[in-house]
């Protein structure tokens, strides 16, 4: 172990030395010089950021990003600003953000303290909770009903980490399975490989709504955690962050956010014209009244008991 650490430190020091020599230039300067801003967008984070049936990127986060772009264009006094959309995945969003390929990530990325060491976040624009989706026939109401059953969650998510912790803490004896993405995790419940899929409730709702038989599934009411979503940007770029923060705050103040929210969560959305029908949560209303980019769940609502248990780890 000692030797491995030495080797890694040696490799690392070489890389750090080269990284430190890189020129620090602000994103605002880059946008002004090139007349272009690049947004990182997702393929299938319905309704935040996804490809519709006409092969164009749409969604709640993208609409918010476009508002930010307009505001920055005004601020820089540019007559035209070219907006480039660059598809990212959960695996590529960090490298592409770090190397300057994308300037804003408009998806469904959870803002937490650990990730803030690597990137910065705009004020929270959505608040979701970790819940369970199961077939109605399974009769799952709370996490306790999952005792000894198979539960699936997506690899690398904070949700998965919570189930692993709670499984040990509460002696549930669940078989915790991992799937590579949300679609595959849902497939595991659909085919009966897992009894429940634990994930952010909004993602569960959209997966169920766009499935073959939406009526077969139910989502538990018990919230296991609070997860704030935010637009992601590069860290250590205070000037750019200030512009983005101002744009988002103005969106909240003017009430425009309510229109955008209603458009994506309370009316039919492409491709299938499904209405998710999710009223605005109390937490989100509170954030809109008092914007915050905090990565601490406690800043949003009373932290669910289950989250306190798993946070102790």
């Amino acid at each position: 172990m000692k030797l491995a650490k030495m080797v890694l430190v040696l490799i690392g020091s070489g890389l750090i030395a080269s990284a430190a020599q890189a020129q620090e230039t602000g994103t605002l300067k880059k946008i002004k010089d090139s007349g272009q801003i690049t947004l990182g967008v997702r393929d299938s984070s319905i309704p935040f950021s996804y490809l519709d049936d006409k092969q164009s990127y749409q969604g709640y986060s993208i609409d918010i990003c476009m508002k930010i772009v307009t505001s920055i264009q005004k601020e820089l006094g540019l007559t035209s600003l070219n907006v480039k959309l660059n598809p990212v995945t959960s695996a590529t969003r960090i490298p592409l953000m770090a190397n300057g390929t994308v300037d804003l990530e408009c998806g469904s990325t959870t803002n937490n303290l650990e990730r803030q060491k690597q990137v910065a976040f705009a004020p929270t624009t959505f608040v979701t909770a970790n819940r369970l989706l199961a077939k109605k026939s399974a009769g799952i109401k709370t996490l306790a009903d999952m005792k000894g059953k198979a539960i699936v969650s997506t690899s690398g998510t904070s949700n998965l980490k919570q189930f692993v912790t709670l499984n040990g803490e509460q002696n549930l004896g669940m078989n915790v399975m991992t799937a590579k993405d949300h679609a595959e995790a849902f497939l595991m419940v659909e085919t009966g490989r897992a009894v429940a899929f634990g994930m952010d409730d909004i993602l569960l709702a959209s997966l169920a709504a766009s499935s073959k038989s939406p009526a077969d599934y139910s989502i538990t009411t018990e919230a296991l955690s609070t997860e704030p979503y935010g637009i992601m940007l590069r860290r250590e770029d205070p000037a750019f962050k200030k512009s983005v923060d101002t744009a988002v705050t103005n969106l909240f103040k003017s009430g425009d956010i309510n229109r955008i929210y209603a458009k994506w969560f309370q009316s039919p959305i492409p491709p299938k014209g499904i209405n998710l029908n999710i009223p605005m949560s109390e937490q989100l209303k509170a954030v809109i009244a008092k914007p915050t980019d905090s990565g601490d769940p406690a800043a949003y609502a009373s932290v669910p008991e289950a989250q306190k248990v798993s946070a102790k780890k």
């Binding site: 172990m1 491995a4 650490k5 080797v7 890694l8 430190v9 490799i11 690392g12 890389l15 750090i16 990284a19 890189a22 620090e24 959960s90 695996a91 960090i94 490298p95 770090a98 190397n99 300057g100 650990e114 990730r115 060491k117 690597q118 990137v119 198979a150 699936v152 690899s155 690398g156 998510t157 904070s158 998965l160 980490k161 692993v164 912790t165 040990g168 078989n175 399975m177 991992t178 799937a179 590579k180 595959e184 497939l187 595991m188 085919t191 009966g192 490989r193 590069r234 860290r235 250590e236 770029d237 780890k313």
Partner: protein, 247 residues
Amino acid sequence: MNYNWNWQIFWAPSPDGVGTYMDTLLSGLVWTLATALTAWIMALAIGAIVGTIRTMPNRWAVRLANAYVELFRNIPLLVQMFLWYFVMPELVPASTGAWLKSMPNAPFITAVICLGFFTSSRVAVQVSAGIQALPRGQTLAGTALGLTLPQTYRHVLLPMAFRIVLPPLTSEFLNIIKNSSVALTIGLMELTARARSMSEFSFQVFEAFTAVTIIYIVVNIIVVNLMGLLEKKVAVPGFIVAGSGGH
């Protein structure tokens, strides 16, 4: 490049309850090796049999073996994984399907079976190529000595053929280790999957993938050296194999 390098991340506690991030990666390595080695044994056994059948005088047996090879060789590994894991349980009777789905370690077993069959078809082709590389007179000499056809294969042809194909088999062994990473698509938490989850949790993407790159290279160098030793050990003086200098 605006990236916060942090090589200390490997000694930070990982959120999945395994220990540090390094422990997480190492537990992934254990799954990678377990999957690759088990599947390799299966691939060698089936591949040797099918490869031998492909060189038999019986035309129907050859056709059957060829069909087997084409089936597993022509479908992408990623697709095969998906078929084994998600489609196969739906095709069998419901009770068998339910039993398959409730198996403990289902992703591991599925990955071994899928990798084993996929690689066995490639091993089969190499084994039959090895047998066909031998002079035809060897088979005739064997039968002239009064050996039955199975005895000729067992004592004359196969021992020589296997020595000839050791180098390509080494490549196949390396392939199976690398291909095991495809099992992350069915939820096996092997090395690459662990690297992905580490980068998701900590956002230290480059550190995670640098580490697994090094781990894969080290494992494969060990395998190459072991196979090299094996080649030297089984070399027959005067018979052309790697390590004996050749002609």
